[in-house]
């Protein structure tokens, strides 16, 4: 089971591990080698910056991690992407067989059944464990749906079980539950700890809109009897009289779906392992769970006709969560904003909505693909602050993609510099800016106009000559050699590996490796 594997390796800090990822686009003009076997690890709670010019493969990396590479023409050819401990690219070779006859003549034979299963699995990982903030909020938001509903969609997809649990708990709660909670909360002396307990309790009872009220009650009254009474009143006021039987049936169905997903994931992993025993075991487990499905026949029929009514309490809970999320991303008047359409919001507000959407299901990993490129400096400062605070509060990892080195300097813990589909240098942020090694990194840093330095009339920027090569016919060996000032003979012939210089400072350059010169 997935939980088992997670339990085994929980000591390891990494949340995302990309190994030898290779993504290519098969176009009529030739194969675009967009990613050339990149390796990437992102630790828990870290902000990892990915920087490079446009056309370097930053966005393709993000798309590959989300498995959103447009197909056709693109496909992930090989590699492994571990999210938590699940390899989301398991069984990659079963999905499609790629036979390359020549650059322009490539046959891709897709296995539709496997692709369907893979998509089903990913749709539950994507948005739940990893989510993404897109570059152009105007393009990423649906113009004909209210933003509140767009955020709620994500919540309804991934948090159904939790919400159903909370609602059922609220509907069936009695005085006894409140008493035990009040006793526990009153025994906590520390104010922050108590507030945290209150928040958790309110969430677990799906009454988080009354969180402030409950907190005030604890502040005003010390007497347990009065507190219990007022809480009882608050909860009773929020009981909606939902059909409990129907909702609990629905919850069972959602749980069944979750089990089905986990079993399928196991089967997929087993199949990639080529161990026949394991495959058989996973397959029988899956079949066992599938058999349970027949008992849900009547529910599914009912759901088909009155599904909206069954989901109504969930929808209400989702709406409250939307307001919370909008509050979290510093939007004033969340109720009004939730009801507006994307075009009624400014760019900064739209980007905030995107962030709220990405955070909807408490993901462990957030991919921010140039989240501030389309924004003004002052708005950019607001958004960057927001992302940094969320990272600190929630402890989720962030993969931050941008071409602006200044933003990287202010945001990230670790930085990877990409060039033409390779990571050419990787180090912590101070090392990259103080002691860059790769000629490309040095060039980028020197080409940066700086707002904190005096620039006279005659001052010129140093530039990296030329531009990013066409990746259909990338340069041989080190892909940077045509633009490099320190070009050597070996650069044309052999591709340098990403080599550790110590302290996690990795560089892919022959200047620092055998065989090669001894530094520059």
């Amino acid at each position: 089971m997935m939980q088992n594997t997670e339990g085994k390796k929980s000591e390891s800090e990494t949340y995302l591990r990309v190994e030898k990822l290779k993504t290519q686009f098969f176009t009529a003009r030739g194969i675009v080698k967009a990613l050339d076997e990149i390796d990437l690890t992102i630790r828990k709670g870290e902000i990892y910056g990915l920087v490079g010019e446009s056309g370097c493969g930053k966005s393709v990396t993000a798309q590959s991690i989300m498995y959103l590479v447009p197909d056709p023409p693109g496909r992930i050819v090989s590699g492994k992407i571990y999210v938590g401990n699940v390899n989301i690219l398991t069984g990659l070779e079963q999905l499609a067989k790629i036979t390359v006859k020549s650059e322009t003549n490539v046959k891709i034979k897709r296995n539709k059944r496997m692709i369907k299963r893979h998509n089903y699995l990913l749709s539950r990982i994507r948005g739940d464990r990893i989510s993404m903030i897109f570059q152009e909020p105007t393009l990423a938001l649906n113009p004909v749906i209210r933003v509140g509903d767009q955020i709620a969609e994500n919540i309804l997809l991934h948090l159904k079980v939790d919400m159903a649990n909370a609602i059922l708990r609220r509907e069936m709660s009695t005085r006894k539950d409140y008493e035990s909670f009040v006793q526990k909360a009153l025994s906590i002396g520390d104010k922050d700890a108590r507030n945290k307990a209150i928040r958790e309790w309110c969430e677990s009872y799906s009454i988080s809109d009354a969180e402030e009220l409950v907190r005030n009650i604890f502040l005003t009254y010390q007497d347990p009897e009065t507190v219990v009474k007022s809480i009882e009143f608050i909860v009773n006021e929020r009981k909606s009289g939902t059909n409990i039987n129907r909702l609990s049936r629905a919850r069972e169905y959602y749980l069944y779906q979750q089990r089905l997903f986990e079993a399928t994931l196991n089967l997929m992993e087993a199949e990639s392992g080529k161990n026949q025993d394991e495959i058989d075991r996973a397959r029988t487990a899956l079949n066992e769970i599938k058999k349970e499905g027949s008992s849900f026949l009547s529910f599914r029929i009912i759901n088909k006709f009155i599904g909206k009514r069954i989901e109504a309490p969930l929808r209400d809970a989702a709406k409250r969560r939307v307001h919370e999320l909008l509050n979290l991303v510093n939007i004033a008047e969340p109720e009004r904003t939730a009801l507006s359409y994307p075009h009624e919001l400014s760019g900064g507000m739209q980007q905030r909505v995107m962030i709220a959407m990405a955070l909807a299901s408490n993901p462990q990993m957030l991919i921010a693909d140039e989240p501030t490129t389309a924004l003004d400096v002052t708005t950019q400062a607001q958004i960057l602050d927001l992302i940094r605070n969320l990272n600190r509060q929630m402890g989720s990892s962030v993969l931050f993609i941008t071409h602006d080195l200044a933003v990287i300097a202010q945001m990230c813990n670790r930085v990877g510099v990409m060039y033409a589909g390779n990571i050419v240098e990787e180090a912590d942020v101070n090392t990259i800016f103080d002691n860059p090694k790769h000629p490309y990194t040095i060039g980028l840093l020197k080409a940066l106009p700086r707002a904190d330095r005096i620039a006279g009339k005659m001052v010129k920027l140093e530039t990296v000559a030329g531009s990013v090569p066409n990746l259909i016919t990338p340069p041989t060996g080190c892909r940077f050699h045509p633009r490099c000032k320190f070009k050597m003979d070996i650069c044309e012939k052999k591709k340098p590996e990403l080599d550790d210089l110590g302290d996690g400072h990795k560089v892919a350059c022959w200047l620092y490796q055998e065989p090669g010169g001894s530094g520059k």
Partner: protein
């Protein structure tokens, strides 16, 4: 009325700057109001995209224009080129030196007349207006006939932001470059061909690029072509509207270097519009900071970046990310969004977001609604439950009043309590808006309270230090706050 509204130390404007030529461009009280009509025909309001903007530009000099989206930077550039018709104001470009001097001295006299309190000499006033009108119809680009304008069009050229949409996709580069020369000069075809070749080499491309289509080029190369086209007819002024914002860092550096080279060689003047402050610092000699259609600060670049005087500039500069992880972040995060230019805040447009705001900065009834609701909210402020429940808060912008109605009549004790609430709120450091309340009276019937706000003062662009123009009430005589404190761009600023 042409120029009474603004106060302008015009003489000093011509003096500073590093340009070695004379004044090339004098923009005087330029305005562009876009009409809003909600019902279709009736004009219901105006968006003041550019509102009373004046500056001068010398030869071989660069003016940087910065500001957030929607502050009117692009409109200003288009007005100067007369790609848009202006509502009011003049643009004197490449006019004889005496004319510009004459206009400046006349406007200065008008300003003095407007400022002085004693009786204005009506006759003299009218004669100045008449003279100015004559000069502007003769020399100002905004009033000129199109035929006459053609002569001036040769001398100024735009470079646009998006290199992907500013080149005709159906023409080869040779034709794109030749078009301005064909239209505006009487060069022969052979000359044009020769010139194109020279131009394409000048911007760092080669001859075979002349026979390609725009789609075959990368963004940086297209921007080079755009620049080549702009300089093809030897203009004196280039209006660069965000020329590098669509480009990568390394390509941006190449283009900026190219522009610097060209300026050095051809003694061009640039109006450089950008929201990237780091690029502005590198490129410009002086900088104009715009906010909601107005210039709020105008001075030479170094002074602006090290010794800014306007609170908005301070906030804007503090928001620039510095490419050095060790530079601490002392950001001033501006609250809220840029207000709508169709309905800008009263007085100083920046006051609702300004942390130095004073009572006379333009607090108006609509700024009061939310804070009043906050202090009257019984859940947040416990003591406010002695007052009856608030029914509604009515604002009247024209009378400058806020009216609070309650569902019951207030006793005099309750009214006193309300007054103490207001004075308590005013005593807080962020309670400027409450300090701006002039009077509180009990309305007729006793169930309403009427509050009158202080009249707003409108800041004008004034020369606070030599060569440093700021539009802020903090630099008026007897202001409550006296200037911004301890501002710097990053800590590493030298």
């Amino acid at each position: 009325m042409l120029a009474v509204s603004g106060t302008w130390g015009v003489r000093q404007m011509t003096d500073f700057g590093t340009g070695d030529g004379g004044t090339l461009l004098y923009v005087s009280h330029l305005k562009k109001y876009f009409e809003i009509s909600k019902s279709g025909f009736r004009v219901t309001g105006h968006v003041k995209a550019v509102d009373d903007v004046s500056f001068t530009l010398n030869q071989n000099e660069t003016l940087g224009v910065v500001g957030e989206t929607g502050c009117g930077k692009t409109t200003l550039g288009r007005l100067v080129l007369r790609l848009l018709e202006s509502t009011d104001g003049d643009v004197y470009f490449n006019a004889p030196k005496e004319v510009i001097e004459k206009v400046m001295s006349l406007e200065r006299e008008l300003d003095r007349m407007g400022e002085s309190n004693d009786g204005v000499d009506k006759e003299r006033y009218d004669s100045i207006l008449k003279e100015l009108k004559k000069l502007s119809s003769e020399y100002s680009l905004t009033k000129m006939s199109h035929r006459k304008l053609k002569k001036y069009r040769k001398e100024m050229q735009p470079v646009f932001q998006d290199p992907f949409s500013s080149l005709d996709p159906r023409q080869i580069i040779r034709d794109i470059l030749a078009e301005p020369m064909k239209l505006l000069t009487d060069m022969k075809p052979e000359q044009i061909r020769e010139k194109s070749l020279q131009l394409i080499n000048e911007v760092g491309l080669s001859e075979d690029h002349l026979y390609r289509f725009p789609h075959e080029f990368s963004g940086g190369q297209r921007q080079r072509i755009g620049i080549a086209r702009a300089i093809s007819i030897e203009p004196k002024l280039l209006v660069l509207d965000e020329p590098t914002s669509a480009l990568d860092v390394s390509v941006q550096a190449q283009i900026l270097n190219l522009l610097k080279d060209l300026q050095e060689r051809k003694k061009l003047a640039f109006i450089f519009i950008s929201h990237h402050l780091n690029v502005i610092r590198l490129m410009s000699d002086k900088v104009a900071v715009m906010y909601l259609g107005k210039i709020v600060e105008l001075t030479d670049t170094e002074r602006l970046f090290t010794n800014m005087l306007h609170p908005y500039t301070e906030a804007l500069l503090s928001a620039i990310p510095i490419p050095d992880p060790k530079v601490g972040m002392s950001r001033i995060i501006l609250e809220g969004e840029v207000p709508s230019p169709a309905n800008p805040p009263k007085g100083c447009h920046f006051h609702p977001r300004c942390k130095y705001a004073m009572t006379n900065c333009g607090w108006s009834p609509r700024d009061m609604v939310l804070p009043l609701q906050e202090i009257l909210e019984p859940l947040r402020v416990k003591s406010s439950d002695v007052l009856p429940t608030t029914k509604e808060i009515l604002t009247d912008e024209s009378k400058n009043t806020v009216e609070l109605t309650f569902d019951k009549a207030l006793t005099s004790a309750q009214f006193e309590t309300f007054k103490t609430f207001i004075s308590e709120a005013a005593a807080k450091p962020n309670g400027v808006r409450f300090r701006a309340i002039k009077s509180i009276t009990l309305g007729a019937g006793g169930n309403s309270i009427l509050m009158t706000m202080r009249e707003a003062d409108v800041p004008k662009l004034k020369e606070v230090k030599p060569g440093h123009f700021v539009s802020c009430l903090m630099y008026e005589k007897g202001a409550e706050n006296t200037g911004i404190r301890g501002a710097n761009v990053g800590k590493a600023a030298s």
